[in-house]
Subunit: 224 residues, 2 copies
DNA sequence: CGCCGTTTCGTACGCCGTACGTGGTACGCT
DNA sequence: AGCGTACCACGTACGGCGTACGAAACGGCG
């Protein structure tokens, strides 16, 4: 009957693991991981708190699954180009994804159960390195360096309270500079004033270090 | 009188910000940050939960202060040697400190209020780089790369479930290898088997990448 | 219609951080 | 000696958390 169908429709779309995951990621993106609660998530979905537990074993399980969603968003290194270009693209993609989901950074490598997207991703990156000629040991070195740089950069980036050079200049002169008087902290003070004067733009900072590392790794590759 | 003094002594040592901080750091070291609660901390100190709030404005304030304790444990770069050796030593020291206080990694750069030890540390590192001849902009690049590598490495390191090559071998063959069959994940499988066969030792992994980065940075220094 | 597997939910327990108010203690002042 | 004041410790209570447990609603089948 129309009544039944309507009632069904009114009482919300069915829950599903997909929908729960998507809502959780979205809430974490918008309001931070620490404010993501099962109750709040359920409220957002128009459901009771305990209803989530049919689709998710626990909050930990939810977090693991969220991490795998994030891994799934990172581009795999392309296979049709130079190893450096491939790894570079993968790193840039990962950086963007982590900037979009800053709550994930501390969890990506620290959770016990890697999801399928996670494993697939690691396999693809490792394949790129091995096919570039790196030995297993050298590929391990390279992977550690690249991922350390990637995660560390993303981690630091989340704490930046600005996005544009203008905001940086404003923040610095209003908040930071008063805290670092030139007589006590000459170098910090000098750096802060110089950088805003030069209109320091943070946008290309990641690529700068990434290329430095890639070039250094190139030197470790066995010459053909 | 003796009676008074004894009563005073029995009713516990006085609380103090120092004691609260030390106990909090110790508890986080031993049981993780997520299980550190104000109630538990007070219990550990033989005090009531609310007593802590005289010495600490809030749990956030406590965390900020804990971070500064950690910063205070990191060696400043020595001033009596080569810039590379100085930066290297401070990085190694920081790595050890972060391994001792893994809970701190996600917080060090992400909290709003840097403490005094934090600022002093940044000043000293920046001073070393500037005195080595790097321009302000280049020193900024170098700092980003070095700290990204440092934090990222420490972050990944916390998730390693092993400390020695033997443990690695055990973990890998028992837990990981079954999850990455050779037909589906050839490179991961190969890497895992090769590394345990070669008795891969993770101990020097950090220094390897650090030296690679330092050497690459050397190339960016203005030639005298 | 009754049955049953799937999905949803209400209640309750033991945690958490902390606002608020109270009470004890140490010490400088008269 | 007596008292005011600043310092310090604490008990209670509130609203939130994750989730164990069991009941209820629903959909499709006979």
């Amino acid at each position: 009957m129309a009544g039944e169908a309507k009632k069904r429709a009114e009482s919300r779309v069915q829950l599903s693991r997909q929908r729960v995951l998507a809502a959780a990621v979205s809430m974490a993106d918008n309001h931070g991981l620490e404010t993501l609660s099962m109750r709040g998530l359920a409220r957002e979905l128009g459901a009771g708190a305990m209803s989530l537990y049919y689709h998710v074993a626990s909050k930990d399980d939810l977090l693991d699954a969220m991490i795998d969603v994030v891994f799934g968003e990172i581009d795999l290194p392309p296979t049709d180009c130079d190893w450096k270009a491939a790894i570079r693209q993968r790193a840039l993609s990962a950086r963007h994804v982590l900037a979009r989901h800053p709550w994930a950074i501390g969890l990506m490598e620290s959770r016990a159960n890697p999801g399928p997207a996670n494993v697939r991703h690691h396999e693809a990156v490792l394949a790129t390195l091995r096919q570039a000629g790196f030995s297993v040991v050298m590929a391990t070195h390279a992977y550690w360096i690249l991922d350390s740089y990637l995660y560390g950069f993303a981690l630091q980036e989340t704490s930046l309270p600005f996005a544009t050079p203008e905001e940086l200049a404003e923040m610095t002169s209003d908040v930071y500079l008063p805290q670092i008087p030139a007589d006590e902290y000459p170098y910090l003070n000098e750096a802060a004033t110089d950088l805003i004067e030069a209109g320091y733009d943070h946008t290309s900072e990641f690529a700068f270090g990434l290329d430095l590392i890639l070039d250094a790794l190139e030197g470790l590759r066995p010459s053909v």
